[in-house]
């Protein structure tokens, strides 16, 4: 069986809550974080919705007990909030003798600050505050989070578009299984930027009303922001330390659709492969999955492709599924980790969260998402999907922890 990797802590910050408790309540009460733009500066204000974290950078700094705002991108601040919650829950402290790593993920690094630097720089190459551009690279936020948490061991960052943080969770687990680390804080973070909002806008895949995944009349995704991290540990260590184990990372898989740079194949080849690999590693069959937290962006292309792959893999008995992006928006590099935390909440609280704003079944599919909160339902295994540009498809299986 090999050594198993368990989850001993998690942290989350998103448009539906500043921590796991708040997120759980929003999920239970059907409160979406998608709404009119309030904090973010853009010409799309009033025209496009967003799923913003409703705190300014100054408020986030205060929350992290940090003083200077100069050094930190919003992406970093969101990451620190979530990673700190995760390590506090798991009792991970600096100075402990275990080899502890950090694997983070994001899509555009400190672009939010580069956007402030660039206008002056474009006018004159000698202008623009350098302190605004030194956070640009994707590794910057990870280094800052590591520094904040006092992590000196292996630190790295993954960027595979919208599957980034599902992949950081996978790699974190691989590092533990390979015996290179005892514990890994794994997840991702992304703040809303004009770069990404306008990028997706040029692709004409932003829903002006807020996303409604798996609905016949869906018109695209809604950009969100946030961060989530898990604390992964070898089962052996967690038991030795008498840790409360909140879940098991029982399987995962990454595959490439190899169809198109941005579009998914009509039959969801990569998606199907990723899901199959994840279940195989988990040692379960499709019938064992109690809930699928689908990628479900709300674009025409994704939901059809993913739906076809799910139908093909699960056949007649498709388990309850929903896209919680209808709450959190699409948090890009943070989405995989945010949805992993939501999957754990589903397992811990024996409930399945609804897919909001859904009214009409898709005509190409016989499956339809869960639209009301399902309570008191045994949730043992959750399949969580995250797919990204470049055909990058990842699936995680999160399971209820049962001692061997």
């Amino acid at each position: 069986m090999g050594n198993r990797v368990v989850i001993t802590g998690y942290g989350i910050i998103s448009s539906i809550g500043m921590n796991a408790d708040e997120v759980l309540h929003s999920l239970m009460d059907g409160i979406s974080g998608i709404g009119e733009i309030t904090k973010f500066e853009t010409i799309h204000k009033g025209k496009l919705p967003l799923a913003e974290v409703k705190r300014s950078n100054e408020e986030l700094l205060e929350l992290c007990c940090l003083k200077s705002k100069k050094k930190y991108s919003r992406t970093t601040l969101l990451g620190i909030v979530a990673a700190r919650q995760a390590t506090e829950m798991a009792g991970v402290k600096p100075g402990q003798s275990y080899r502890t790593g950090l694997v983070s993920a994001n899509t555009v690094g400190g672009m939010d600050r580069t956007e402030d630097f660039y206008p002056l720089f474009l006018e004159n190459l000698a202008k623009g505050k350098l302190s605004e551009v030194i956070n640009h690279d994707c590794g910057d936020s990870t280094e800052k989070i590591a520094e904040y948490l006092g992590i000196c061991d292996l630190t790295t960052t993954i960027s595979t578009a919208c599957s980034s943080s599902a992949n950081s969770i996978m790699f974190g687990s691989e590092l533990i299984k390979a015996g290179m680390l005892d514990r890994v804080i794994a997840g991702g973070t992304d703040a809303v930027t004009r770069f990404t909002l306008n990028g997706f806008n040029t692709l004409m895949i932003l829903d002006k009303e807020g996303c409604c995944p798996f609905d016949e009349n869906r018109a695209g995704l809604t950009i969100g922001e946030g961060s989530a991290f898990l604390v992964l540990e070898s089962e052996e260590l967690a038991l030795k330390e008498g840790k409360k184990i909140v879940g098991l990372l029982s399987g995962y898989g990454n595959a490439n659709d190899a169809y198109h740079q941005t579009a998914s194949s009509p039959e969801g080849i990569g998606a199907g492969l990723a899901m199959a690999k994840a279940m195989e590693m988990s040692g379960i069959v499709p019938g064992n999955i109690n809930y699928i937290n689908v990628h479900g962006t709300g674009t025409q292309n994704n939901d059809l492709s993913e739906g076809m792959a799910v139908q093909k893999l699960f056949g007649e008995y498709v388990p309850p599924f929903s896209s919680t992006k209808s709450y959190t928006g699409h948090t890009l590099g943070a989405a995989g980790a945010i949805e992993a935390v939501i999957s754990l909440l589903s397992i811990q609280h024996n409930c399945i969260f609804p897919n909001l704003r859904w009214t009409t079944p898709m005509k190409e599919l016989y499956i339809r998402p869960v639209t009301t909160l399902l309570k008191d339902i045994m949730v043992e295994h959750v399949l969580s999907n995250s797919f990204g540009f470049g055909g990058n498809n990842s699936s995680l299986v999160l399971s209820k922890y049962n001692p061997r």
Binding site: T42, I43, H44, T107, M111, T114, E115, Y118, F121, L122, L125, A126, L130, V133, H136, D137, C138, G139, D140, T142, E143, C152, L154, T155, T156, T157, I158, S159, T160, A161, N167, F171, E174, L175, K177, A178, M180, R194, F195, N198, G199, N201, T202, L203, N254, A255, N256, D257, A258, Y259, H260, Q261, T262, I269, G270, G388, F389, G390, G391, N392
Partner: protein, 357 residues
């Protein structure tokens, strides 16, 4: 280490500021420059990519795809079990293009191409797309550990029993914008410097560079095997208790070898007086080994250690250090064990160990 754990470097592909695209030649003719900024000698991309696809591709994608093609052809591997890349800054040219238009046009009248290509995993995705490769596909983006993280993941994948070949690469491009910014940050020499005088002229700053190097790693040796990839370590110096020599002996100990067994240390020294100290500490701790360097040939960039590993692999196969790379001669000592040491701004340090297969 048991035989099953040996990982072989079976193919190389390198697009760099040197003539490195033909694996039959090894730095026998050096592109000597007087500059503080090196640009890649780009191949005729039509040899690797069809014209209709080529037209739309950003520069780093072209460099990445071409070097991966050279590598696959060199190794004879048609379909790798995994594609893993590392890039410090990704497709910068496209990022800058989209950002510039966004600012100039005040968020209006934008087109998607440069946004799509700016995504950090575009190179690994394009390689997969052109090969129709559905396998594991990852991209690491962590400064001076981007390539090392890709290499580390490759080693893990190759040891998990499900993967027997991995196409691994590191790539970064230099743009006018990034050169200006990093110049202002004091990364580069203010005056042009001769290729062969980078290490003798002591001054602040290095020379900027770029490149894309790929490796075909395999669990089985082939007739063209260059070297065995023995181990890799990324580390920082935050924990100042440990000296560089003690980190090195700990690292070598994992492979059961002593520092005296290092025949050659290939080092990332870059001519920057503020970066020199760790390299001095390292070369002092392997007194009997030869020393070779690469950054006067490639320039400094976040994934330049990929050029370093390319050079080390070629040295292993050829059995000697090319004249242009020698820093300290090791005489007639046969080269069986090479240590690669690099650091990026004293933040990201790494060791890579390769041995004769």
């Amino acid at each position: 280490m048991t035989a099953v754990n040996v990982i072989y470097i079976n193919g190389l592909g390198n697009v760099s500021p040197q003539k490195t695209t033909d694996n039959n030649h090894f730095l026998d003719e050096v592109n000597r420059t007087q500059s503080n900024r090196l640009a890649c000698i780009e191949p005729n991309y039509r040899d690797f990519i069809s014209p209709d696809i080529l037209r739309r591709m950003g520069r780093l994608i072209k460099m990445g795809v071409a070097s991966s093609r050279i590598c696959l052809a060199d190794s004879g591997c048609g379909m790798p079990d995994a594609i893993i890349t590392g890039t410090g800054l990704g497709c910068l040219e496209d990022t800058e293009k989209f950002l510039t238009t966004l600012i100039r046009n005040k968020e209006e009248l934008l087109t998607p191409t440069s946004f799509i290509q700016s995504t950090h995993n575009t190179v690994s995705a394009q390689i997969a797309l052109l090969l129709r490769c559905h396998n594991y596909n990852y991209t690491y983006v962590h400064r001076g550990w981007s390539f090392e993280s890709a290499l580390l993941d490759s080693v893990i994948q190759l040891r998990n029993g499900r993967t027997s070949t991995v196409l691994t690469g590191g790539m970064d491009e230099l743009t006018n914008g990034s050169f200006e910014i990093t110049s202002r940050l004091g990364h580069w020499r203010r005056k042009p410097v001769d290729t062969f005088e980078l290490f003798t002229s002591t001054s602040r700053g290095s020379i900027a560079g770029e490149g894309s190097a790929f490796f075909l790693l395999s669990t089985t040796a082939s007739h063209g095997t260059y070297a065995a990839l023995t181990d890799i370590l990324t580390f920082n110096r935050k924990d100042s208790v440990k000296s560089l020599p003690s980190i090195l002996s700990g690292f070598l100990n994992r492979s059961g070898i002593m520092p005296e067994e290092i025949d050659l240390a290939v080092c990332g020294m870059n001519g920057d007086s503020t970066s020199a100290k760790p390299y001095k500490e390292l070369t002092d701790s392997v007194k009997n080994a030869g020393i070779a360097a690469w950054k006067h040939l490639s320039g400094e960039y976040m994934t330049s250690s990929a050029f370093g590993l390319w050079m080390a692999s070629m040295i292993m196969k050829h059995g000697q250090v090319p004249e242009a790379a020698v820093v300290r001669n090791c005489g007639d000592r046969p080269i069986n064990t090479i240590l690669l040491y690099n650091h990026y701004l004293d933040l990201n340090h790494s060791f890579i160990l390769i041995r004769k297969p």
